[in-house]
Point group: C2
Chain length 120, copies 2
């Protein structure tokens, strides 16, 4: 990190790829896992721009959950920021739409159709 952020638990910054570093293959890989796809759907469906990790309850261990959020962040799909003690997660919609027009919405629509088709 080039910015000097105070290294306290409440405000440490997490590494994210810049828009131009985001790769289609990494985005598709991030979205190819059922848990990660569920996370993205939940953030997209929320009225809030961001959800905390604890608001997105995954049926997996804490370390597995942390892994999934990290893959989403490192691929450029989500942005994670600490707000106080909460780690908040938001979609990088502007970046994704600029690089890959329609991709995020098409995948979200496909996921919704599949849930409807398979009933779960």
């Amino acid at each position: 990190m080039s910015t000097a952020a105070p290294h306290t638990a409440g405000s440490r910054a997490l590494e994210h790829p810049a828009r131009e570093e985001i790769r289609l293959e990494a985005v598709l890989h991030a979205l190819s896992d059922p848990m990660r796809l569920a996370v993205v759907r939940e953030i997209a469906a929320s009225r809030a721009a961001e959800l905390s990790c604890s608001q997105i309850d995954l049926p997996v261990t804490k370390s597995t959950s942390t892994h999934h959020f990290r893959v989403l962040r490192e691929s450029g799909v989500i942005e994670q920021v600490y707000r106080g003690t909460a780690k908040m997660n938001g979609l990088r919609r502007a970046d994704l739409d600029a690089l890959f027009p329609g991709l995020l919405d098409t995948v979200l629509d496909a996921a919704a159709r599949q849930v409807q088709r398979l009933g779960g």
Copy 2:
């Protein structure tokens, strides 16, 4: 396979998921690899509906190439059929478009944009 195909080298049938067995996560995973994405782009860009494996020249070993084609087939992205001694590969566009409208074209467009952007 429920159909009794003759088990000769020239006409043996390969296993494919039925349309209703195709899963979004598996399709995204299949498309998340640079080599496999290149294969899909090449078939999509071809004037022929099918290309043989030897027409799609990947800079990898034969066994790695076979692996990539198998992942594409088992996820439901491509259909592979033997015609004589050639294994022919075609996109399952009708199945993908029916299940996930716009997904294949959006990914192909995103891949083309990325190649243009990164010059590769």
